[in-house]
Subunit: 180 residues, 2 copies
Amino acid sequence: MSLRHALLGLLADTQQNGYDLTKRFEQTLSGHAWNAGHSQIYPELKRMTAEGLVEVVDEGSRGSKVYGVTDAGRAELRRWMFSPLGETPPRNEFVLRLFLLSSLDLPDVRVLAERMAGTSDQRAIDLTHAIKEIEDSTPPGQPHGYARFAAEFGRRYFELQRDWARWVVEQLESGERPSS
Amino acid sequence: MSLRHALLGLLADTQQNGYDLTKRFEQTLSGHAWNAGHSQIYPELKRMTAEGLVEVVDEGSRGSKVYGVTDAGRAELRRWMFSPLGETPPRNEFVLRLFLLSSLDLPDVRVLAERMAGTSDQRAIDLTHAIKEIEDSTPPGQPHGYARFAAEFGRRYFELQRDWARWVVEQLESGERPSS
DNA sequence: AAGCCCATGTAACTGGTTACATGATTCT
DNA sequence: AGAATCATGTAACCAGTTACATGGGCTT
């Protein structure tokens, strides 16, 4: 149940309401880490309030509730961060497709793999630009924030996908098709 | 619904029963692509049989059913492989934790990040050995198969995690803490 | 005969997605 | 006045996990 820890982490950084948390998920975590919609977030905040991990610290203008982490919540967050990593089963459709490439015939494989490498490359390029913008818009000596971390991870990840996709085609072309 | 396409892909490569498919998931796909237990696989095979995507091609000794892909199944697999990639929401607890690192204080961050980089490094090393074994045990000129692809992806991926984890600490140490 | 691996299935539950629903505020 | 955005919630559904249940065949 990583959702609650993600919420704790975000709230520990900045107190905010459910609406903002939903956007924060979308913007920084949804790319490579985790995702959740508002219909999952609101009930979870309620539950966590009942359990004393978070609390309403302020009520905004239009009935919004600003949440903050309690001491118990901070302790739970730390406990989780240091706990052994439970094997969260992966769900990566891109990698799945690459693994299944060899179920097609070679001409198809070439077209598809090159297309997949191409889209990965494009996303890496986009992120490189985004990173440049973040760096330019932050005064020197100042820290960059989550967005920079996420973008950097994405850039490296898409480069990996691109290179690995090309490597797979090479393998398939030199050996025809795998046997196991 | 990628489960059925994963099954189609595996069956297109080798006809097999539900038990073998479960193991195949565990061994090659469960690391980075997808996962499914037998309780999900058996009912899905039934449904796909009813829809004419797969068929029982043989019945083994102890009541086992060997499945194969039909022409319709092969067409559906190809259609899916060429269709635009639907954004499967990611679920990566390791990356999530790294994103939330800055919610802890600096001494904690140093300890944790170095530990995380260490485990990633170890897994990369293990896979490097595994790759060497695969290569040594395959006659030259012969293709290596799925296992080699998966291992190679894993090696690159864990190296990325390791390097990125170290980069994040550097950033946090030089700038104290991020603001967004 | 006991224990392990092969082999298949169902049931209950939990986490996550999509759809439905409502209302206040701000912008044009 | 109308549209967009802020803001919160519930309900129905689907996918995935854990637990329960059963039996054949192979090895020691």
